[in-house]
Subunit: 309 residues, 2 copies
C-alpha cells in the first residue's frame, strides 16, 4: 500500500485533512471530494493501471460504474494514454456522465434494472482483449483506495497527532472501507450505508454475505447502490471486526447542508453518509476519529433538493 501511495504522490497532491468539531468533539475529515475528478476512486484506478503490462495497456481497459469509478479510471487512463471504455447506468447523474466523456472515455449506457453491467463489460473485454478494472472486487483497487488512510496517518503525524483509533467511512462495495482497514490496522472501522442499501452492514452482523433485499427504496446515494459486496472486501472487514450502520435520506441531506455551511464543501449524497452518521448521533466520535468525505459529484437539482438550499 505504501507503493500505491508513493505512485499517487507523484501525480496528485494529498487531499486535505480538515479539523472540525461535532458535539464538542474534535474530529478529522479526509476530503476525497477534492480529488481532481471529485472522488477517491482515482487512487485504486491509478494503482491498477500503472501496474498493467505494456501489452495490456495497448489493449485498453473496460470498467463499469455509476460514475465515480468511471471517472477515476478515465482520469488514470488519459494520463497514461490508455483507451478506456466505461459501462454506466443510463440513470447516472448527468455530471458524472459528462465528466467521464470529457475525460476521453467511451461511455456505453445500460439499463440498471434489465441489463447486467458485468456481462456487458465481459463481452467488451472479450471482443477487444481489454482488462476489466472492477470497482471494488480487486486487490489493486482495495489497496489503492486504502492509500487514503495511510495518507491521513502521515498528515496527522505532521501535526504531531496520533493515528486514528476510529474511522467512519461511506461503503458501497467496500473497496475503500477494506482498504482503510488494511492501511490503518489499529483503527476500528465503522462503515455507513444508505437505508435499504445496507447489505454490508447486515453481512457483517450476520457473518456471511447477504445482498440488498428485493425492491430497495430509491436513494440519492448513487455511488453506494451496490447489490452485493465481494468476498474480498467482506472478508477483510469481517476479520478486522468492522461494523456498519445505515442513514436516511434526510440525515444525508442534513450532512450535505452542514458541510456547505460549515466546511464550505460541496458533497454528493454518497460522499456525506459518514458525516451524516456522526451528525445524527448514530455513532460517536472518540478522541481520535477520522471521517471520510468520499465524493462531491452531484447534480445541482439533487444538491438543492437534499440541502434545502
Amino acid at each position: 500500500m505504501a507503493k500505491a501511495l508513493e505512485k499517487l504522490r507523484k501525480i496528485v497532491p494529498p487531499t486535505p485533512l480538515l479539523q472540525t468539531e461535532i458535539s464538542g468533539r474534535s474530529i478529522c475529515l479526509k476530503v476525497e471530494s477534492l480529488q481532481p475528478m471529485g472522488a477517491f476512486k482515482l487512487r485504486g484506478a491509478w494503482h491498477r493501471l500503472t501496474d498493467l503490462s505494456a501489452e495490456e495497456r495497448q489493449r485498453g481497459v473496460v470498467a463499469f460504474s455509476s460514475g465515480n469509478h468511471a471517472q477515476g479510471v478515465a482520469w488514470a487512463a488519459r494520463r497514461l494514454g490508455i483507451t478506456a471504455t466505461i459501462v454506466m447506468p443510463a440513470d447516472s447523474p448527468a455530471k458524472k456522465l459528462d465528466n467521464t466523456k470529457a475525460l476521453g472515455a467511451e461511455v456505453i449506457l445500460y439499463d440498471r434494472v434489465s441489463e447486467s453491467r458485468e456481462e456487458i463489460a465481459a463481452r467488451i473485454a472479450e471482443e477487444r482483449g481489454s482488462v476489466v478494472v472492477p470497482s471494488f472486487d480487486d486487490p489493486w483497487i482495495v489497496e489503492g483506495q486504502g492509500s487514503a488512510g495511510l495518507e491521513a496517518v502521515g498528515q496527522l503525524a505532521e501535526l504531531g497527532l496520533a493515528a486514528p483509533e476510529r474511522i467512519v467511512t461511506p461503503c458501497g462495495g467496500g473497496g475503500l472501507a477494506a482498504g482503510l482497514a488494511l492501511g490503518v490496522p489499529a483503527a476500528e472501522i465503522m462503515i455507513v450505508e444508505p437505508e435499504g442499501w445496507d447489505d454490508m452492514t447486515r453481512s457483517l452482523a450476520s457473518g456471511e454475505i447477504v445482498g440488498v433485499q428485493p425492491s430497495p427504496p430509491p436513494t440519492s446515494c448513487d455511488a453506494l447502490q451496490t447489490l452485493q459486496v465481494a468476498a474480498l472486501t467482506f472478508d477483510i472487514l469481517r476479520s478486522r471486526g468492522a461494523r456498519g450502520l445505515a442513514v436516511s435520506e434526510v440525515e444525508t441531506g442534513a450532512a450535505m447542508r452542514w458541510a456547505f455551511d460549515n466546511l464550505r464543501l460541496v458533497l454528493e449524497p454518497g460522499g456525506a453518509v459518514a458525516l451524516a452518521a456522526l451528525l445524527a448521533g448514530k455513532t460517536e466520535a472518540t478522541e481520535r476519529t477520522l471521517v471520510i468525505l468520499s465524493g462531491g459529484n452531484v447534480d445541482t437539482a439533487t444538491f438543492k433538493r437534499m440541502t434545502g438550499l
Copy 2:
C-alpha cells in the same frame, strides 16, 4: 517569512493546492477558503499574536474587520488564551458575526458610514492597554499572509513542478498581495478588486496611493471594501511591478458558480474575484499560474443570489 510558515505548520495543515484547467490551460489554485475559519487571515493573526510578549498577551488584543480578519484574530487568540475585542461593521455578514462570537471574541458593532473603526479600536486599546492588530497595515500581518505563497511553492516542488511565474490574487488592503510579492519574488503579481473598489489598481497605475472614489457602488465583496490602502502594502506591490484589474458582480457570481460546479468549493464573493478575472478572460493564465481563492465565508442568501443556485 519561513518563520511564519514554520509556526503555522505546527497548528494547521497546509491548505490544498488544486489543479484545474481554464481555457485549456492548467492552473493551480491555493484554497485558503478551507482554513479552519474559512479564510487566509489566520496566517497573519497567528504570526502577530505568537510574537506578542507575555505582558502584551495579558492585556489582550483589539482588531477591526468586516469578518475574516476578525475571525482570524479571534481564532488565534482563543488558541493562545488571549482576550480579543473585535470592532465590526453592523452590516457584516451574519455568518462572520456569529463565527467571530463563537470563537470567544467580544464583538463591538459600529456604523460603516458614520463612525470610524480606527477611532473606536484606538479608544479601546487606550482604555485596556491592548495591542491593536491591523488587518493589513502591519509587517507581521503582511509576512504571515505571504506564507500562503511560500507554502504553495513547497507543494508545487513536491509534485516536481516549478514555482509560479504569475500569481493572481484578490486584494482588499493588500496584505495578502504584498505578502505574496515578498514570498514569491520571482512571480508577477496581478491583484484583482471589485468594480468601484479598485483603489489599489488605480494606485498602482498612477504610482501613488489614491482612495476609493466617492459613493462607491454596492458590492457583495465585503472582504475587499477597503477605502484606502497603506503605504506598506502599496510600496511593496509597486516596487515589484504589480498590476491590478477589477471584476464585476456578475463575473464574481459566475466564478462562485464555476467553483461550486467544477471545484466542489463554496467561495465567498471576495474570495472568488481572482478566479473571476481568469474565467472572464480579463487576465490570462501563463504556463505556471497560481490563483488564490482567499475565503469562503458567505451567507446562504448571498450565495444563492450570486450563483443563481
